[in-house]
């Protein structure tokens, strides 16, 4: 055991490093990821150690990052793309949803697309527009892609390695406002504590199930601790995988608690919470004591940063959601 307190950002760096050491076909491509180590320094030191051919500073063109990654994958490489910010992924949207997602089906399985597209996502860092978005639903809606979001250093370290090993394309969301949060885990471990597409019950409870992913997991845990003081026991589930959706874990919990609150930063309309709500209603209709409650971002463009605290699900708004679920 080598228990260490590591930031989420550094745990991603070490995860990338291990994947690159393990497989010479793993290459990184993105803007500013070389000498600078990325604007969030996630790739810091990797170009120095693995060279410019494996840590590729790309021209400033997102469709090009993903489109050339398709070609690299066809040539037998395992590209890991870095999109600098969530709001910059849209120029690459066609390459992701029309090419990366569909090439396997189009070739009847002859082609594999082992591409990881890393996207720092979510708000709370005081940035200007296009730097704080949560575009996960666009990708989760597209068959052929897998979509995951990490929330803590240990998961980040292992999930990035598992995503790179996956033969399917993975959209990998990183909670940018948690990059500097520290968490303790065994850095000498050689095996992931859980599968990439498994949800994780991070806090057991009996009165209300609460589901979320990425940056809000920490806020959900804080809410659950606050609720505990008021005598309410909340089971917190870190979804981790948005597609495929680990619905069985949620269903199992809801059958126990009878109540569900789904939290995310993305706008509520047709978001992950809508899908979870629909599936839970189909499977747990007679177990539910209350309608599924959504605590999400508003259905507006992401607001200016001085207003973002009103937009983001915070502890009070989450606890209000819990109260609404308990009111039935």
């Amino acid at each position: 055991m080598a228990l260490e307190k590591v930031t989420l950002g550094k745990s991603l760096t070490s995860g990338l490093r291990r994947a690159m050491e393990r497989d010479p076909k793993v290459v990184l491509i993105g803007e500013d990821i070389g000498k600078l180590g990325g604007v969030f320094r996630i790739t810091e030191g990797l170009q120095k150690d693995f060279g410019e051919a494996r840590v590729i500073d790309s021209p400033l063109a997102e469709s090009g990052i993903v489109g050339t990654a398709v070609g690299l994958a066809l040539r037998g490489y395992r590209p890991v793309c870095e999109i600098q910010f969530d709001g910059f992924v849209y120029p690459a949207f066609d390459q992701i949803v029309s090419q990366v997602a569909k090439l396997r089906a189009r070739s009847l399985g002859a082609v594999t697309m082992p591409i990881v597209i890393r996207i720092p996502f979510g708000g709370g860092i005081g940035s200007p527009e296009h730097h704080s978005e949560s575009p996960e639903a666009y990708f989760a809606h597209t068959a052929g892609l897998r979509v995951v979001a990490c929330s803590n250093p240990e998961d980040a370290h292992w999930m990035i390695q598992q995503a790179i090993e996956c033969d399917d394309p993975v959209i990998f969301f990183e909670p940018k406002r948690r990059y500097h949060d520290r968490g303790e885990y065994d850095t000498a471990a050689t095996e992931a504590p859980r599968g990439l597409f498994e949800a994780h019950i991070v806090r057991p409870g009996s009165d209300v199930t609460m589901v979320g992913y990425g940056p809000v997991v920490k806020t959900m845990l804080e809410s659950a601790a606050a609720a505990e003081a008021d005598g309410t026991s909340i089971e917190v589930i870190d979804l981790r995988s948005l597609s495929p959706l680990p619905i069985d874990t949620i269903v199992g919990s809801v059958r126990k608690t009878g109540r569900l609150v789904v939290v995310h930063e993305a706008s509520s309309f047709l978001g992950m919470a809508s899908e979870i709500s629909a599936q839970v209603t189909e499977q747990c209709f007679y177990d539910l004591e209350a309608p599924v409650i959504r605590v999400n971002g508003a259905n507006i463009p992401y607001p200016p940063s001085r207003m973002e605290e009103d937009f983001l699900p915070d502890l009070d708004r989450i606890l209000d959601g819990v109260d609404r679920a308990l009111a039935y």
Binding site: A61, S63, G67, T68, G71, L74, R75, Q95, S107, L108
Partner: protein, 384 residues
Amino acid sequence: MSDKVVAELHEPTPAVGDGGPDMIQLLTPEGERLSHPDYDKYVADLTPEDLRSFYRDLVLIRRLDAEGYALQRQGELGLWPSLLGQEAAQVGSGRALKPHDMCFPTYREHGVGFVRGMDPQSSLQLFRGVSQGGWDPKDHNFHLYTIVIGAQTLHATGYAMGVKMDGNVGTGDPDRDTAVICYFGDGASSQGDVNEAFVYAASFDAPVVFFCQNNQWAISEPVSKQTRIPLFQRARGFGFPGMRVDGNDVLATYAVTQHCLDEARNGNGPLLIEAFTYRMGAHTTADDPTKYRVSAEVEQWKFRDPILRLKTYLSHEGWADEAFFTRVDEEADQFAAELRHGCITMDTMPGETMWDHVYAEDHPVMEAERAAFQAYQASFEEAN
């Protein structure tokens, strides 16, 4: 900017040009062999037999195209993108490739696929609606058709970057050095992806040859809606060579493509070829070109027919006689009959296979939906 420069920049690209003084040509529309100091060497070794096989390829793919068109009109295909008029651009460039070179087509390169050795039935699958592609690109180093305009130029560039990372460029070993060719049209030259591909290819010295078939029309829009300058000159702005070849001249297309592929294999890529040609038919069978172009233009291009000029050349040189041309026509008849038979007897896969190749690894949604579909289908059988 001087008035002269402004005037030059605003000089319109003619809708129907003769290709201009920069266009490389080895065989005139009248079938006369022209000499070219830079490109003669690439065709010097061609024997009369080679030239006859070029002719055969041209005729067979024109027949493939005619059959595709007819099958669509008879309801056997949902759509057919015609290559009529572009046979020389496709045969010339396709035959310049080595087997280990990689090729990225659009959805119109049925002729390139044919000369790469692909089963011509494969070109029909997508348009018959039995598959969204359906072949393994590794079988003939011929990637799947790409319908989104220009998207494949980035795939080709990335693949070429990989070729270079593999060390398969500039070694001097002809079996190892590898080039990538990427097809697109004049309309695609306006796409962001194509311009991004040019930037990436140039920045990473990727061994890729961009092969633009300028067939003058992007559905209803003339090339003047895509560019103010001749397309081959675009390359210069990205920092690599561009050249214009007579796309209706199979010899020149073959020579120029060989030259560019050699350059790419030697590490001097990327390069751009503009094959100056004309789409004689409609964009696809859903299009009606009589709405937007005049018949005089089409008539003018008929005199530049790629097959006719090679036939004239072969005849004048005494390298082929009427019996040969008749034999090729008969072979084309047979080829068309086989193509037709193959098309109308093509198997449609059972519905439950729709979920089979979406993911490489087990995916619970696919499994659950397939199982539900099978159960639903089975419920009808039980009811009977």
